[in-house]
Subunit: 264 residues, 2 copies
């Protein structure tokens, strides 16, 4: 099953995606109303069975994580290792204590490259990338893809940061902004414009540490819901089915009024 | 050491980055000429020492990988698991044979979310994300960050795809395009425009499988150079030092002529 067919099956609705607010100029006819997200899970589950990883014992055993503790750990580790490794630290720390192996065996330094949207390139924010990796390690495919979609939607559409550190490194109020995107450049850029603070400022550092903590917290919540059997996947964005190629929902953020049409 | 100070130390020159071709409207005065990339390695190395991962035996043992075999494996696995898991498969397959543990223990399905720039969102192409993860697992910090920068630069500036499959699933010529970005949306979008082929076409699928193979091949080359002691880091892009926040080099691709100025 190729990516187009697979992703065309994912439903797209307005839940969590306010298309008008995104100023997206795509006709409603292009929006695909496919089958439920659970179908994607079945497709991927069958696919996974055919392509063995060679590693036994996957997904890794998961015990519920305290979201607030994960957030606080992630917040403070941001100041040492930045967003992606801080999120893994926040989540791994408790799993190493409660579960042990294989969580104790994975070198979380290996994911540190996510910082600044891959070493300052402003690509995908390292926090949701690290959250996605932990979800990918702990959750079977029939839920993990949906949960990663949920994390990206939440990251894009939530006034950030959400998490309030118990022992913050910066005292004082900072603004919250909606990134409308999981990209570091847009996420931190929109906040810097609203806050009128530079990248090296204490406020920006506190902001990114708090966003990192928010992602660790939210990832823990999603994982715990799945562990409890109460996780309900939201609707998943379908870039290829909607605009003809992998894409975000905020076309106007880059294209202005001139949105090219993808060859079909 | 915070991200700004750390990244301001990375030198930026024209090697691999043709600024005029990128139509980048940033004054030369903003370009930082900091210390050599090796200094970043020292900073990160010292930082890593303070923040233990809790996992012993990192970096993981590495034996040289045959780039062509890694490419061919990645090409064919793309049709089953798409870009990010295909790159890890191409590289892990040989390392599991030559080294064994810990490469045999890591479930490479966990990185499959990179497909389509994270499940069709068009964010960072999953191929270099997966390549970066393998580099992060195998190479110490004093080289890994530089090597990931090299991979992103090469991905952005090379007419793609490079790799020619020995047993391709599509017979015939396809165009090569320069993405000028590691983002899936730009990489595949520019190719689709040039080729005038849809996302579901056989040509596009062959193209993304070949790009995936190219990334597996190039990652193996870089890792082998490091193993041989011949790896020489290129100059690393410094988004925060150059434009004031994490950013790509292709400002005009999204901003047109109206490039905002980041608060300093």
């Amino acid at each position: 099953m190729d990516q187009t067919k697979q992703e065309t099956r994912i439903s797209t609705n307005s839940k969590g995606v306010d298309l008008s607010r995104r100023e997206m100029l795509i006709g409603a006819g292009a929006l695909m109303a496919g089958a439920a997200i659970s179908q994607l899970g079945l497709v991927n589950s069958a696919m996974a069975a055919k392509v063995s990883s060679g590693a036994e014992g996957w997904p890794w055993p998961y015990e519920k994580v305290d979201p607030a503790q994960a957030g606080e750990t992630a917040y403070h580790h941001w100041y040492k290792v930045f967003c992606s490794q801080a999120v893994t630290t926040g989540l791994f720390e408790q799993l190493r204590e409660s579960v042990g192996e294989p969580w104790t065996n994975f070198p979380i330094e290996s994911i540190s490259f996510g910082a600044g949207g891959m070493l300052g390139w402003g690509l995908t924010c390292g926090a949701p990338v690290a959250g996605a990796l932990v979800i990918g390690l702990a959750v079977p495919k029939e839920y993990s893809n949906a949960m990663i979609h949920d994390l990206l939607q939440w990251y894009s559409n939530t006034p950030m940061p959400v998490y309030v550190a118990q022992k913050p490194n910066y005292q004082g109020e900072i603004p919250k902004t909606v990134a409308e995107s999981p990209l570091c450049h847009l996420s931190v850029g929109k906040w810097m414009k609203e806050a009128d603070r530079g990248f090296g400022s204490d406020e920006r550092r506190h902001r990114c540490a708090s966003v990192t903590a928010s992602v660790a917290y939210r990832t823990a919540e999603l994982l715990n819901e799945w562990k409890d059997g109460t996780y309900k996947p939201g609707s998943a964005w379908n870039g290829p089915g909607t605009v003809g190629l992998p894409a975000q929902q905020n076309c106007m953020s880059c294209h202005g009024s001139d949105i090219p049409t993808a060859p079909r």
